[in-house]
């Protein structure tokens, strides 16, 4: 049901505000359609397993609490979209803005409707990420970027803590499903890990809801466009933490720890932020701190733990969303029409925009808790609840609450008076006037809601409140009545004190400001965070400097020494005891060894003469191929030989651009150290190889040898392993090859390599091509293709197969390049060899997928026999198609690599 929403929301990108509005309206309609069922007391559930083995389901629920929050999210979202349509200028990338907004809205809806704690976390992180994008929307501004980063850092860290807390809950309950978690409250509270998990969950909630001491990101998030602030910081983002506390209330609340931590944090946040709000000069800064303060009030209510306090908390969530969103929008209008948000410059705007002024005054009064408005009623409920506590608190708490109320009256008064009254403002960037008609509509709607709720709370809001509160408490509701007037009692007295004191405080503000200026700088959370981050970053740079001394050689030496130490440690229990009888080496063996050792020594000695070194490496490669022949590995011998040819060619091509000689750069001492390390490494490898070869042990060879024919349909076991038994490995390997080819093409894309008109001995390159090579290479290609086909087809039974056939074809085409030059060949062959490689990989993958169509697992092969006249009876296996894919991939990779490097040769036919 709602599961479709986030996905659908993300797609609406192209036509900006209208499309966004349509999507939000559709979400609203969907909610309205489901609402009656919820109102009847049903619990709507929807669940699809996602990652069942960790208990993560794609599960959603819609109960009273979810419905209330979803309604706030969608309802205020709609108003904000309308507002943003007028607020954003044409230069702002509207499509992107609304896409982010919808992404955020979808994530928030996910948070409030998730029925699985892990899923809730996924959406939780999504809100952090999308709010990062929204806050930093004006990416040109450093302030916006810092604000976004700060918000992401704080809420992201909280999200991690929450993840740990949720995992603990899941461990205790045995399920992440909300239904089971909420029912297991006693088990959770009784567990030893309860204090830890509570702390972790609260960290998540407090960072998100900007509770002290994590409140500091919120004011800096005010660098966002005002519609974002109106949305994120009134009804949604910051309410996510509150929502989490409410959602988990039955599971976590009711303990001493809950009361002290939640209640205490709420109280401190409420008073501290209300006090700070008074000193903000930025209109949005004032609103930001007032938001923090109001959230503190809600947290405090949740911490009190009485059912009535919970009802008041839900009620205040609704009220705060209504008046704060309208205030942010009003602030945005002021900013939009005057060009500044600085309250020291703004003044007397009521004359220019009386209509907006009226709206803002009503909303601010609601925030202050003036009677006849919604804020008054929930604040009265709050005041009444403060008396419900035991001894010293029954008078401390009401005092604190009154103090908080007093500050909120004072900053509301400041908001209204500084902006809309007083003398004519002089140096405003723009001449103020009323905003466009429809920009005011969202504010009007919200202010009317404030009024209606304030006048007739029982009528307007009580049904929704009952629904949400009963879902929150997961039990029967206590008796309560929402009314404008409960008679003259203590809460009313507290309101009167707060109103009068607040106004008095505002009048005396000048004295306070000078006092405040001294203390504020030291307490800036942003500065503390930034210096912490700077210190952490310096520490990691220092640590990195310890490990990486700034040279690859040193890192390599460290790597080798560690590997050596690990290898030696393996031999410590005792020297290896050879048990097998060694084979006789024979004359051929000694001859091969001598050739290899000489060539290796020559490579080392001659390595600065690069051409000679390449020749020596080629000799070693040949000896290794011969060793493969001798050691019963014909497929390897063929592969090694062909790769050797191509590698040497590649090295020669590269040498065209590189110095022909390496100068002697390293000192004698360094050479000696290197030689010593090399000797140790070589000796270690030799001992290890010797011990391994003569150690007793069974290998898997029996299975493969026995199953090759009956299971894979081929006699060449190596090839059957490659294309059948371990075909998934092979698929992975040709994919890696393909990636390497693409990397080669990408790295060499559009680089400047100096061509060399002369060779290193100062002679010009020979102008013409070798006639002999040109003539001989032509008939070679069809012959090589024939051989490739033969090798490919016979690979299942005799040495050959896709890898070898591919290398033969690649070599043959290379000879064409050598004989005829780039232009001649590329006029006759497709220039995009990478496509050939991609085609090969795709063919291999599709062959594997085809087996799925027959109900067999991926890459299952099948084979049969075919009688072909003249040729005779031969076997056809589906694995051969796979091998064809391997063949194409290898051809494509070899040619794209060599052709790409070859094309760098600007001098004609120099390759």
């Amino acid at each position: 049901m709602l599961a479709l929403l986030p996905a659908a929301l993300q797609r609406a990108r192209v036509p900006p505000s209208a499309a966004a509005g349509a999507v939000a309206a559709a979400a609203a309609a969907l909610l309205a359609w489901q609402a009656p069922a919820v109102a009847d007391g049903q619990l709507l559930l929807f669940s699809v397993p996602w990652v069942p083995h960790i208990g993560l389901d794609f599960a959603f629920r819609l109960d009273g609490l979810s419905l209330l929050f979803a309604a706030l999210i969608v309802g205020i979202g709609l108003l904000v979209i309308l507002y943003a349509h007028y607020y954003l200028s044409d230069e702002d990338r509207n499509g992107r803005f609304f896409a982010y907004l919808l992404l955020f809205m979808g994530a928030m809806l996910g948070v409030v409707t998730a029925d699985n704690l892990l899923l809730l976390l996924v959406f939780w992180e999504l809100t952090s990420l999308s709010s990062f994008l929204l806050i930093g929307f004006w990416r040109g501004s450093a302030e916006a970027r810092q604000g976004a980063r700060l918000a992401l850092l704080v809420t992201g860290a909280g999200g991690l803590a929450l993840l740990a807390g949720v995992v603990l809950i899941g461990d205790i309950v045995g399920s992440y499903s909300l239904g089971e978690v909420l029912a297991a409250g006693d088990a959770i509270r009784g567990d030893d890990r309860y204090p830890l998990l509570l702390a972790l969950v609260l960290l998540g909630a407090f960072t998100k809801s900007a509770q002290f001491p994590f409140h500091f990101w919120l004011p800096h998030a005010m660098a966002a466009p005002t519609p974002v602030s109106a949305y994120l910081h009134s009804a949604t983002m910051v309410k996510a933490g509150i929502f989490l506390l409410m959602r988990l209330w039955p599971a976590l609340a009711g303990s001493e720890e809950w009361f002290w931590v939640v209640g205490g944090t709420g109280l401190v946040t409420m008073i501290f932020a209300a006090y700070v709000a008074l000193f903000q000069h930025d209109l949005k800064g004032l609103l930001a701190y007032s938001t923090v303060s109001q959230l503190g009030l809600i947290t405090l209510l949740l911490g009190l733990g009485t059912p009535l306090a919970e009802i008041a908390a839900v009620f205040h969530v609704i009220n705060h969303a209504a008046f704060k969103a309208s205030l942010f929008m009003a602030a945005g209008i002021v900013d939009h029409e005057t060009g500044t948000r600085d309250m020291r410059r703004l003044s007397g705007l009521a004359r220019h925009m009386p209509y907006t002024a009226t709206l803002a005054i009503v909303a601010a009064s609601a925030m202050a808790g003036v009677p006849l408005l919604n804020g008054f009623i929930s604040k009265e409920m709050f005041f009444a609840e403060t008396f419900a506590l035991p001894a010293p608190w029954s008078w401390v708490m009401p005092l604190a609450a009154t103090l908080g109320g007093l500050f909120s009256v004072a900053y509301s008064a400041r908001f209204v008076h500084d902006v809309f009254f007083g003398g004519q403002a002089r140096d405003l960037p723009r001449t103020p006037h009323e905003p466009p008609r429809f920009m005011r509509v969202p504010v009007e709607i919200l202010v009317v809601i404030c009024l209606l709720v304030g006048l007739g709370p029982g009528l307007i809001v009580e049904p929704a409140l009952r629904l949400a509160a009963s879902a929150l408490l997961q039990g029967p509701l206590p008796a309560f009545s929402l009314a404008l007037w409960h008679g003259l009692n203590l809460p009313v007295l507290m309101s009167v004190v707060a109103l009068a004191g607040g106004i008095a405080l505002y009048l005396a503000r000048r004295y306070l400001w000078s006092l405040h200026a001294e203390t504020a700088r030291a307490l800036s959370g942003k500065r503390i965070t930034e210096s912490t981050v700077t210190a952490l970053s310096a520490a990691s740079t220092w640590l990195h400097g310890l490990i990486d001394r700034g040279g690859l050689r040193l890192s390599l030496v460290a790597l080798l020494l560690v590997a050596l130490a690990a290898g030696v440690a393996g031999f410590l229990p005792g020297p290896p005891v050879p048990t097998k009888v060694p084979l006789p080496a024979g004359l051929a063996g000694w001859a091969g060894f001598a050739a290899l050792a000489c060539a290796a020594a020559a490579t080392v000695v001659l390595h600065r003469e690069r051409l000679l070194a390449v020749v020596c490496v080629g000799v070693i490669g040949l000896v290794v191929s011969l060793a493969f022949v001798r050691l019963s590995a014909p497929d390897l011998a063929l592969t090694q030989l062909l790769v050797e040819v191509i590698t040497v060619l590649l090295l020669l091509l590269a040498m065209y651009f590189l110095p022909q000689r390496s100068p002697r750069e390293s000192s004698g001492g360094r050479r000696a150290v290197d030689a010593f390390i090399a000797f140790l490494a070589g000796a270690g490898a030799a001992v290890l190889a010797w011990a391994m070869m003569l150690a007793p042990g069974e290998t898997l060879s029996g299975f493969y040898l026995g199953q090759a024919k009956p299971g894979g349909g081929g006699y060449n076991v190596v090839n059957v392993i490659l294309v059948d038994f371990r075909a998934l490995d092979t698929l992975g390997e040709i994919t890696v090859l393909g990636i390497a080819a693409f990397a080669v093409v990408a790295i060499l894309d559009r680089i400047e390599l100096p061509g060399r008109p002369l060779d290193w001995d100062g002679r010009p390159w020979p102008a013409g091509r070798s006639l002999l090579l040109e003539v001989l290479s032509r008939p070679l290609l069809p012959l090589a293709l024939l051989v490739s086909t033969y090798l490919l087809l016979r690979g299942h039974n005799l040495p050959g197969g896709g890898f070898i056939a591919g290398l033969v074809t690649g070599t043959a085409v290379l000879v064409q390049y050598l004989g005829h030059g780039n232009a001649w060949v590329e006029a006759r062959l497709p220039p995009r060899y990478t496509s050939v490689a991609a085609l090969g990989i795709a063919l291999a993958a599709v062959t594997g997928l085809a087996s799925l169509a027959f109900g067999a697992p991926f890459l299952t092969s099948t084979f049969g026999y075919l009688d072909w006249p003249v040729v005779g009876r031969f076997e056809v296996a589906s694995a051969m198609v796979f091998d064809l894919g391997v063949y194409l991939a290898v051809v494509g990779v070899v040619l794209s690599v060599l052709a790409t490097i070859g094309r760098q040769h600007n001098a004609p036919e120099a390759g």
Partner: protein, 111 residues
């Protein structure tokens, strides 16, 4: 035979490591090539040595262990891909920095 192969692997590793520690990318490239020979031989040897036979089951045994052979076959082709990549990186470094030293500092040492 085993001892000979073991020493051959050791020689290749020693030469490869020494070259890989040189200050020029081209030498490193040669070193990596030698190291991959050594590793391939080592992998093949992991199945035990069998002389003058083939992993073809339509012929009479004994057979060598086919699994290391299959592993080495792909390893050879992959090491070609890797060599190609290192060559191209060398060229790119040459194009952007004008030399093919491993480290940026004077004498090929740390910057």
């Amino acid at each position: 035979m085993e001892g000979l192969v073991a020493v051959a692997i050791g020689v290749l590793v020693a030469a490869g490591v020494y070259l890989a520690l040189r200050p020029r990318l081209f030498s490193v490239l040669l070193g990596i090539t030698l190291l991959s020979y050594a590793v391939n031989l080592f992998l093949l040897a992991a199945g035990g040595l069998v002389v003058d036979a083939a992993p073809l089951t339509d012929r009479p045994g004994p057979y060598p262990d086919p699994l290391p052979q299959a592993l080495v076959l792909t390893a050879i082709v992959i090491s070609f891909g890797m060599t190609a990549l290192v060559i191209v990186l060398t060229l790119r470094a040459m194009s952007e920095r004008g030399h093919d030293r491993v480290d940026d500092g004077p004498d090929g040492g740390p910057a």
